[in-house]
């Protein structure tokens, strides 16, 4: 008989999540709330100057209050929420060459990320299998991989920009570089450490090179390859945002920088959140895909 989890067990954690969110928003709001403007002790001249500078405005009753449109400290959650509503409301509106709706920006980032990551992964898996299948090649290539692996993908950017002379392709290549090495290293390792039994069976059955590769080697190394792809995925995702910022390519990462240039801090916070959600969505999709290729070891 299956035991039904209690209401607490099932929904408790989610309730706690909501509670944490609520608490966070409350603290954020409390910390960023500015005190009411106090006109006492200020001369008429001072107030006029402040009004002229845009620090304060007169409300409907004729009292001075802080100008809500002037940037002052970190904006509270309500401001960011307001900003998000406007942005999401015009998600698919293009206002100019560099002012595309958030929907477009996210789409550009995903496209850029996917093309760089896919190309990088294909090259990395091929290279990894090639190296992993032969012990001498594995030993020979290993030092190069070890040196190339820790280089930040952004470090390649000036060289790439100089070589291809095009920011669009440079951004994709940065993602490509970011997704290369972890997959190469893991694939080579995975192929190199396949259980001998499987190779023995392949040898007994007199499988051809290609058949052995596709029916035994790649499936057996799949968990290691997926683990490598997962690391690559993370580093590529981290690389895509600064690549867009530095190259000025339209995307979710670029939005962060544009909003900073506009001195719109609510916009910056909104852009950061967008990057987080895009990353989460991509990672989730990848996880579902990866589950298809793993198996339970006997």
């Amino acid at each position: 008989m299956a035991i039904r989890p209690s209401w607490n067990d099932r929904f408790g954690p989610y309730l706690l999540s909501l509670l944490i969110l609520g608490l966070f928003l409350f603290v954020w709001e409390a910390a960023t709330r500015s005190p009411r403007f106090d006109a006492k002790g200020k001369t008429e001249d001072q107030l006029t100057t402040m009004e002229f500078n845009g620090d304060v405005v007169k409300d409907a009753a004729g009292h001075y209050i802080w100008n809500p449109d002037k940037v002052k400290g970190i904006p509270g959650p309500m401001k960011v929420f307001e900003k998000a509503r406007t942005e999401l409301g015009e998600a698919f509106v293009k206002k100019g060459t560099n002012d595309h709706g958030i929907g477009f920006l996210v789409w550009y980032t995903i496209k850029r990320f996917m093309s760089g990551f896919l190309a990088g992964s294909i090259v990395a898996i091929l290279l990894g299998v090639l190296i992993g299948l032969s012990k001498p090649l594995f030993i020979a290539f290993n030092p190069f991989i070890q040196v190339l692996k820790p280089i930040s993908p952004l470090a390649w950017m000036p060289l790439l920009l100089y070589s291809v002379k095009d920011p669009f392709w440079t951004a994709i290549l940065v993602v490509f570089m970011a997704s290369l090495w972890p997959t190469v290293a893991n694939t080579a390792f995975g192929v190199n450490s396949i259980r001998k039994d499987y190779l023995h069976v392949a040898a007994l059955l007199e499988m051809s090179y290609l058949r052995r590769l596709f029916t035994v080697v790649l499936p057996a190394a799949a968990p290691a390859i997926i683990a490598g792809l997962r690391i690559s995925f993370g580093s590529a995702l981290v690389a895509v945002v600064p690549a867009e910022m530095l190259l000025g390519e339209l995307g979710a990462g670029y939005l962060t920088w544009i909003e900073w240039n506009n001195l719109d801090i609510s916009g910056v916070i909104f852009a950061i959140l967008v990057v987080g959600f895009v990353g989460y969505a991509l990672d989730y999709a990848f996880g579902r895909l990866a589950a298809l290729f793993t198996y339970t070891e006997v």
Binding site: D197, Y198, A203, L204, L205, E206, V216, A220, A222, E297
Partner: protein, 288 residues
Amino acid sequence: MSFLKVDHVSKQYPVLDDKAKKGESFVVFRDVTFEIRKGEFLTMIGHSGCGKSTLLNIIAGFDQSSTGGVILEGREITKPGIDRMVVFQSFALMPWLTAFDNVRIAVRQAHPDWSPEQIHDWTQKYINMMNLHGAERKRPAFLSGGMRQRVGLARAFAVEPKVLLLDEPFAQIDALTRGGIQEELVRMWNATRNTVFMVTHDVDEAILLSDRIALMTNGPEAELAEIIDVTIPRPRTRAELIDSPDYVRIRNHILHFLVKGAKKSKHSGKDSPAAPATETKPALQPTP
């Protein structure tokens, strides 16, 4: 002409110890010679370390002999091939394939000219013969040890190899399940009459299944001590076996050898009851 001939096979490894003299080597076994007739079931018994699994690997082609060689139907064995299927102690099933597909890829390799339907039907036949019906779509991780080895046996038999090599095939299966599979193996072997070389620790298993049993002395420098005929008529079942006087005699003989003889002959072998023998000794001396 003999079918499978193991001809003066020795296996040694260079000693990698710092103190070892140059050229010194560690001899696992030396000068093992015997023949297996076509359709015969020969089992090799010996303590751990006598190199019986190494010998099986040499016959399979996974390992090379240091001296001597193995000849199958007049040709020397140099590499693994589909004419010698191995049933592994560790099952060696591909965990990403279903039970059915594990057998199917072997059939496909054995018969590259067959249509997919033929391959499918042939696979199904052997799946059914090993009582795996209903488990075809399961992956090895979701099968019990006994079921896994049934898949391993189905894979090996389905190829119809010239020689079947069983490397302690039931060592990882619990005692209760083991009996059932052993009887299935007997049934399968009776139906196909494959030539089988098996390596095991289990004396009862050897007597139940074999035509002849080869006894190895203890390693290192193990030698083939003798080969005994299992005179018990077939078909055999475990239930009948227990009451058979031949069974008791053979079992005692082997156990005596394993407890005493295997050790003694390591030093000399002249006056030992288990002197190295390359021929089949006829019957056993009746126990007093």
